[in-house]
């Protein structure tokens, strides 16, 4: 591919206090792709996403979005530029209603008609949310919360969506539904997706390419199919 990557990390490091969480991570994501980042617990996957969203200040390297450096900007400016994250644990606003949660997803937007249109689109994707629209976010089940979190992210009309562990703690049927919708928003809305997952099998099957993280380093990158076929990966992450 010769086109410009929508997201590029060049030797990015980040730390919590003195504990280095990620070291010299480099990766590229091209428009229209689904890229998954897989790895064990504590490998630095969530830290990478939090660094991309500028919530965690990086200690070295560069993060480029659309070819422009974004590291060091305020995190609240990024959704307006099309970069949006669904963080680990979903982080629904528990005492805001489903509708209010969705509205907060479009906080920087002022076009009322567009927001209404997008909310209806979210309700189309996740009909259960429409039924629960006046309920508080905290009262939803885990699967419904995941849907709400994704719906909230979609409200900002993202071009790049970062998803952190969307399958965590959900029933297999719900997980399948979530992944179907990830593919749908990628294919029909053209949203580029970066997917962080512990469920490597599922993630790689839904992806074009994958990166493997171990103790804060990228140890492998390849096409998703190739990774799925790689015996080392199968052994380490796919439980064979």
């Amino acid at each position: 591919m010769t086109q410009q990557p929508i997201l590029e990390l060049k030797n990015v490091s980040a730390a919590y206090g003195r504990i280095k969480a990620i070291k010299d991570i480099s990766l590229k994501v091209y428009p229209g792709e689904v890229v998954s980042i897989i790895g064990a617990n504590g490998a630095g996957k969530s830290t990478t996403l939090m660094s991309i969203s500028c919530v965690l200040p990086i200690t070295g390297g560069e993060i480029l979005y659309d070819g422009v450096r974004i590291d060091g900007t305020a995190p609240d400016l990024l959704p307006a530029r099309g970069l949006c994250q669904v963080p680990e644990g979903r982080r629904i606003f528990p005492r805001l209603t489903v509708e209010e949660n969705l509205d907060m997803g479009a906080f920087f937007r002022k076009d009322k008609a567009g927001i209404l249109h997008d909310m209806n689109r979210v309700f189309q994707l996740f009909p259960i949310l429409q039924e629960r629209r006046r309920q508080h976010g905290g009262t939803l089940s885990g699967g419904e919360q995941q849907m709400l979190a994704m719906g909230r992210a979609l409200m900002s009309r993202p071009r790049l969506l970062l998803l952190d562990e969307p399958s965590l703690g959900l029933a297999p049927l719900i997980v399948q539904q979530i992944f179907r919708i990830i593919r749908e928003i990628n294919e029909s809305d053209g949203v580029t997706v970066v997917l962080v997952e512990q469920n490597a099998n599922l993630a790689l099957q839904a992806s074009n390419r994958g990166y493997v993280l171990e103790t804060g380093n990228v140890i492998m990158e390849d096409d998703a199919q190739a990774l799925l076929a790689n015996p080392d990966i199968r052994k380490a992450y796919l439980g064979e």
């Binding site: 949006c84 606003f93 907060m104």
Partner: protein, 300 residues
């Protein structure tokens, strides 16, 4: 019965004022978990701004209601600016420090502002000009002054306005979202600093209105009047369940009632003690307050 009715009327008046001040504590606590000690001083500054502006306008010969209205609006703006300055100067740089540090600097700020008021306004009581609103009427033996009607009226308008702001507008939603999860609210594009600043400003404006009304009700203001009233209003916020807006309103009303009735039926010397006892009792027996945890739809 007459005494009871009279106390009821006085209790509502006082309780409304406490509710206004309690809201500032509860909103700030809800959003950054800080007991803003300087809030009582903002209240006192509001009382002074009221007396300063009203005295000046009365001297210029404006009619009382115009004086009151304009002074209310200007003083509320002034206090909002003051609280935002305190927030930006002292609390914001300490956002990632330990709670003890922030609490101590809040305490320092409270002493600083109180003495600032003393230095510029003097140690003695400063009287509100004349009786702004004269007269009253009688219901079942209880005297209701027009002043009380004005105070309760302004209080109700402000409380309804705040409720609308917090629960109906997008900014209000953003305030609640920020209080619930700061990182996530940043991830959806909410500027937490701006929201926090705004919370301080709104709380200060309400406290300022309360300060002016207390000044008019008792006829004068004093530089240290924010301290005791601040603790009482904080008690009201705790009683209602800290962080809960409806709770603060209710708590304010209850504390006001208890104080007035206790002063009337038990002992007026010890009236200030009751608020403290309620505070301690609530924290000991039901630390979440009356609107805490279970009925938390109205938390910030």
């Amino acid at each position: 019965m007459e005494v009871f009715l009279q106390q009821l009327v006085n209790g509502i008046t006082l309780g409304g004022v406490y509710a206004l001040v309690a809201l500032g504590y509860t909103m700030v606590y809800g959003i950054i978990q800080l007991i803003n000690f300087a809030h009582g001083e903002i209240f006192a500054a509001g009382g002074y701004m009221g007396v300063i502006l009203i005295s000046w306008m009365v001297a210029q010969g404006y009619p009382p209601f115009v004086c009151l209205g304009v002074a209310l609006v200007l003083a509320m703006g002034y206090c909002a600016l003051l609280a935002m300055a305190v927030e930006k100067l002292v609390y914001k740089p300490l956002r990632s420090s330990s709670r003890l540090s922030v609490l101590l600097s809040a305490l320092g700020m409270s002493i600083f502002l109180q003495n600032g008021l003393m230095l510029t306004q003097g140690v003695y009581d400063r009287a509100y000009p004349g009786e702004m609103v004269r007269g009253g009427f009688e219901i079942g033996g209880a005297m209701v002054s027009y002043m009380q009607i004005v105070i309760v009226g302004i209080t109700v308008v402000l409380l309804v306005g705040l409720n609308t702001l917090v629960f109906k507008t997008r900014v209000g939603k953003a305030m609640r979202a920020t209080a619930q999860d700061k990182t996530m609210s940043a991830l959806v594009g909410i500027n937490a600093s701006r929201i926090i600043s705004m919370t301080f400003a709104i709380g200060a404006a309400l406290a300022c209105a309360a300060g002016i009304m207390v000044g008019m009700y008792y006829g004068s203001v004093r530089y240290d009047m924010g301290f005791v009233l601040g603790v009482k209003a904080f008690s009201a916020a705790v009683l209602g369940g800290i962080g809960n807006i409806t709770g603060a309103m209710l708590g304010g009303l209850i504390i006001g009632m208890i104080e007035v009735f206790a002063a009337g039926y038990i002992s007026s010397e010890y009236k200030d003690v009751f608020a403290f006892i309620i505070l301690i009792g609530v924290l000991y027996f039901m630390p979440t307050g009356i609107m805490g945890e279970n009925v938390d739809d109205t938390r910030v």
